[in-house]
């Protein structure tokens, strides 16, 4: 099913690891050179920056080419005609992605990724135009319109399986969010259906990935499992359902009257049960992505608990959360450090990979620039003469005034 052979992807993984080990000094230059010769593969790769730019320009070309076709060859086409042609362009884009991989041997090169992404986009828009007359969203949509997001989800899943792009799986998850709206008007049922889809996906992935523990597929499955855990959490945390949830929190706790009382409190219990479950799963499998999602959902549970209970938020809540996070990090670090060789139960706080340092360097530069703007919320109440927020251009909010 996969467009790349297992041997090619294993060879690529081996090359990446060898490069990392050589840069960390675990291998001598002579060893690296000799071992690298045995991991030759024919796939063509590029670095992340060129990959992004190639993705962008491929999108521009495909979008402009399709637009040009409509302008030159079709004057005022009907929605159905446009839809049919978009479906054809979707097929052409997908074919081009397959061709780029099979003939040019592109691997995470940007071009084949953009073509695959375009194929999903054209498929969905084309189906909407061809079969549903390009009708816009209405409160009571045509029940059969669920086929559009369903097709998007299936196509995205196929591209994930075929090409291995993790974001294609994420796209499939996003398409799934739109499905229940066509089936039921009950918000509770919609949340349950989405969570059920994700849970089914999680069960499947968990069953499959155990066979690939030390293979090249493990990283991909790890990321997908992390996405699914996060998706399940987000679908059951009713305080995170609204896109405007942050604004609503600061003004007043939300009154989620559209949900039954039992359903509401069941989800509250679940948002407290999920973080330890996810963390335990991640720790047991030594899976960093799942552990990271476990930490994220734990923080989200702390953040959403008060709105859930309808309690008043206090200005010092973020301070307490921050102190808790710092305390947990320090405790874990000390606990690891006090173990033999700085290790406990197979975990360590020491840096073992050069990649971690690269991420840290890039992250510290970027987040150091943007974080001062985002950490100073508008005042909740009280002191009308004081304003504290924003910051004209960094400086930890030093440019704003009370």
């Amino acid at each position: 099913m996969r467009v790349y052979s297992a041997s090619s992807e294993e060879a690529l993984r081996a090359r990446n690891l060898l490069k990392e080990w050589a840069s960390e000094g675990f291998l001598t230059a002579a060893q690296y050179q000799r071992m690298e010769q045995e991991t030759v593969c024919d796939l063509r790769r590029t670095n992340i920056f060129l990959r992004l730019v190639l993705f962008l320009f491929t999108l521009i070309i495909v979008g402009a080419a399709v637009g040009l076709f409509f302008v030159v060859f079709l004057s005022r086409p009907s929605a159905q005609t446009s839809g049919v042609f978009l479906l054809i362009f979707g097929a052409i884009s997908y074919g081009a992605a397959e061709f780029a991989v099979s003939q040019a041997r592109l691997y995470r090169y940007g071009i084949e990724e953009a073509l695959a992404a375009c194929s999903v986009g054209f498929l969905c828009v084309g189906m909407q135009f061809a079969f549903f007359s390009g009708s816009h969203y209405s409160p009571t949509p045509d029940a059969a319109e669920f086929l559009v997001p369903a097709a998007g989800a299936i196509a995205s899943l196929w591209i994930w399986r075929r090409f291995g792009f993790p974001y294609a799986f994420l796209a499939a998850m996003i398409f799934v969010v739109f499905l229940p709206g066509y089936w039921t008007s009950s918000h509770s049922a919609q949340h349950l259906i989405v969570a059920a889809f994700y849970a089914a996906g999680l069960t499947s992935v968990a069953a499959v990935r155990s066979r690939h523990r030390f293979e090249y597929l493990n990283d991909g499955y790890s990321l997908v499992e992390a996405f699914l855990w996060l998706g399940i959490y987000l679908s059951i945390n009713l305080q995170l359902s609204s896109l405007n949830f942050i604004g609503e929190w600061w003004v007043a706790p939300r009154a989620l009257t559209e949900f039954s009382r039992s359903f509401y409190w069941a989800t509250w219990v679940l948002i407290w049960c999920l973080p330890p479950t996810v963390l335990a799963r991640g720790v047991r499998r030594k899976d960093r992505f799942v552990i990271a999602v476990g930490a994220i959902v734990a923080i989200l549970t702390f953040v959403t608990n008060k709105p859930y209970l309808g309690w008043q938020r206090h200005t010092w809540d973020p301070m307490l959360l921050g102190a808790l996070l710092i305390g947990v990090a320090l405790f874990i670090r000390r606990w690891f450090a006090s173990g033999p060789g700085g290790t406990r139960h197979g975990f360590t706080a020491q840096r073992l990979s050069g990649k971690d340092k690269q991420w840290m360097n890039a992250g510290s530069a970027v987040f150091g620039l943007i974080s001062p703007h985002s950490i100073t919320p508008s005042p909740q109440s009280g002191s009308p003469e004081f304003r504290f927020g924003g910051g004209d251009s960094g400086g930890g909010g030093a440019t704003s005034d009370f």
Partner: protein
């Protein structure tokens, strides 16, 4: 063939020693599993949440708490952070130095952000400098630069650079009329100062590993400033030439130093600028779309050639 099988083969062939094999096989299996990055992210998020809550609390409850208590708390946090950093810091070195502990960088970051909160509070309550925010920002930027270089901290260096940018922005905001041209000139001046300072400090061997941060910020600010000139309705020719020169320099630097972010900057900013010039007087849909198809393909070919040439750096 999995990497574990390969390692076994390389051990049998004598390419790696049994000790190396054991170590590398453990790493492959995730034994031990490092949570270094996760703990750092947790600390960073903790500091941000703490300082956000601190600022919010101070701004909301300052009247009830009173100036003395607020300033005492802020100053105590500040003093504790800086005491810890100066007490625990290793001797200064112009080269890259590793942090003495996991939390060290974050204590300094917390101290720097608390300084900002403290300063804002002081000025707003007591009007020490009569609202001369630009002076505060300049002084803060200076302090952050000193701290960043003393303790080798990229977080604080980024704060220093953003504070300096804020000083440029605030200085302009005092002017009676806000004109794009003035902002552009100051942005270019800021970009040049940051770039030249980065080159100078690298040349002097002072924390050379910070150079990338300087260069990336300078390049992006300069590109934005020059692009805004290209979008002008009149006298955009000079800016267009400046954009071409900047793209050429960025491309040459990126290719020579294998820093492909600069190749990407040249490609994207250059394409946007050139497209705005070409499409300035073009109104027909066919012409516009044809332009994007042809120019996109041309860019793709050039970029693929560059990617092929540097394939080994992938």
């Amino acid at each position: 063939m999995t990497i574990l099988t390969r390692l076994e083969q390389w051990k049998e062939q004598g390419i790696i020693s049994p000790e190396q094999h054991a170590h590398l096989a453990d790493l492959t299996r995730g034994e031990p599993c490092s949570l270094f990055l996760e703990l750092n992210v947790l600390l960073f998020a903790g500091v941000l949440a703490f300082i956000a809550g601190l600022g919010w609390t101070v701004s909301t409850w300052s009247r009830q708490l009173g100036d003395v208590l607020v300033l005492t708390i802020l100053s105590a946090i500040l003093a504790a952070c800086f005491w810890y950093c100066f007490y625990r810091a290793p001797a200064w070195s112009p080269a890259e130095t590793t942090s003495p502990s996991l939390i060290f960088d974050y204590v300094l970051y917390l101290g720097s952000l608390t300084w900002s909160v403290d300063l804002v509070y002081l000025e707003n309550r007591f009007r020490v400098l009569s609202g001369q925010w630009d002076l505060y920002l300049l002084a803060t930027a200076g302090l952050f630069f000193l701290l960043a270089y003393r303790f080798d901290n990229r977080f604080v260096l980024s704060l220093a650079l953003s504070s300096l940018a804020g000083w440029f922005g605030l200085t302009i905001s005092h002017w009676p009329s806000h004109q794009d041209a003035a902002y552009r000139q100051y942005a270019i001046l800021y970009g040049l100062i940051v770039g030249v300072a980065g080159v100078f400090l690298k040349h002097r061997g002072l924390k050379s590993h910070f150079f990338g941060t300087y260069l990336n910020i300078a390049a992006n600010v300069l590109f934005w400033a020059v692009l805004s000139g290209v979008f002008n309705q009149q006298s955009y020719g000079v800016w267009f030439l400046a954009l071409l020169a900047a793209c050429g320099a960025s491309l040459a630097w990126g290719l020579a130093r294998r820093q492909f972010a600069f190749v990407a900057y040249a490609a994207v900013y250059g394409y946007v600028g050139v497209s705005s010039i070409f499409l300035r007087d073009v109104t027909g849909e066919t012409a516009v779309l044809s332009y994007f198809v042809v120019s996109g393909i041309a860019m793709l070919i050039v970029l693929v050639q560059i990617a092929r040439r540097f394939r080994r750096e992938a």
